[in-house]
């Protein structure tokens, strides 16, 4: 199939040049997501390399970003109790 696309929008162009180094896979992102979101809420992590890799992945991967944002919201709505 050959289609003619209009020119890229600025947003599309920017998405295509996102720097995804350091490499982190979606699988590893899922593996780290709970730790990452809790560290964000706590204001930091003893593992800055993990935080950086996660930040880069979440900027580059819409599906993982959606899931991380949802987890943030859930923890937020659990509020300060955090006990369930």
């Amino acid at each position: 199939m050959t289609r003619s696309h209009p020119m890229l929008t600025k947003r599309q162009a920017e998405a295509l040049v996102v720097d995804t180094e350091p490499w982190l896979s979606c699988e590893s992102c899922f593996h780290l997501m709970d730790r990452y979101v809790e560290a964000e809420r706590a204001g930091g992590s003893p593992d800055p390399a993990m935080m950086t890799a996660m930040q880069h992945h979440l900027r580059a991967c819409a599906a993982c970003a959606e899931e991380a944002e949802s987890l943030r919201e859930l923890l937020e709505s659990d509020g300060g109790t955090q006990e369930d």
Binding site: H5, W23, D34, E38, D47, A53, L71
Partner: protein, 231 residues
Amino acid sequence: MTALSGGAAPGGALAPASVPRQAQDAPGDRLLEALRADGAAQTAALREVHLLMLRAARHQVWRMGAMLPGVGTVVREEIACAAADDALTALLGKLDTFEGRSRFTTWAYKFAILQAATEVRRLAWAQREVPLEDTGTWWATEAGPEDYAEASDLARAVTQALDHALTDYQRRIAVALLVDEVPIDVLAERLGTTRGALYKTLHVARGRIRAHLAAGGHLPAPAAPAEENHR
């Protein structure tokens, strides 16, 4: 579980072996212990964890509601319930991998979020054709001079990089994901591959585009392109 069932541990510097265990929630510990036990305690714990899954799955379906126009409350609830069931199964299969580096409830939530999000994206695209280019010659096509004039320098340079720096497969994946905005798990399902494999292809493609742009002076730092064993 879906495409992410691998749950591979990250390597090298990303595996924080020396990170102290996060403060754990006592109820989470109790749940975890009960899940690993037998009998009535385990049954009760399963019920409790299922409720957690249901809460997270409902939250996710609600968040993504705009992707399911015309889908009513009853069906949305069915989607959430099914996702919670599947997520509980996935969680139980991974129970031994829980490292206590987050609260158990946080760890549990992510399974339901993934399951529900994947299902909503799948349903939202179930009746839609996934656009995929078979040829690589369609970029320089129909944009008139005024279109180019309106496009940013970056957009022009990236368009050129799509044509010249990528393989056909890389271009098809990058365009489907980032231009046509096909969800990555939907695309993976249609192509018979995994979310992880597609993201890897996209990573390599982005590296090549960045390198092409850097060579043309459009990006400052010549990022080392990630090399690939992928198509």
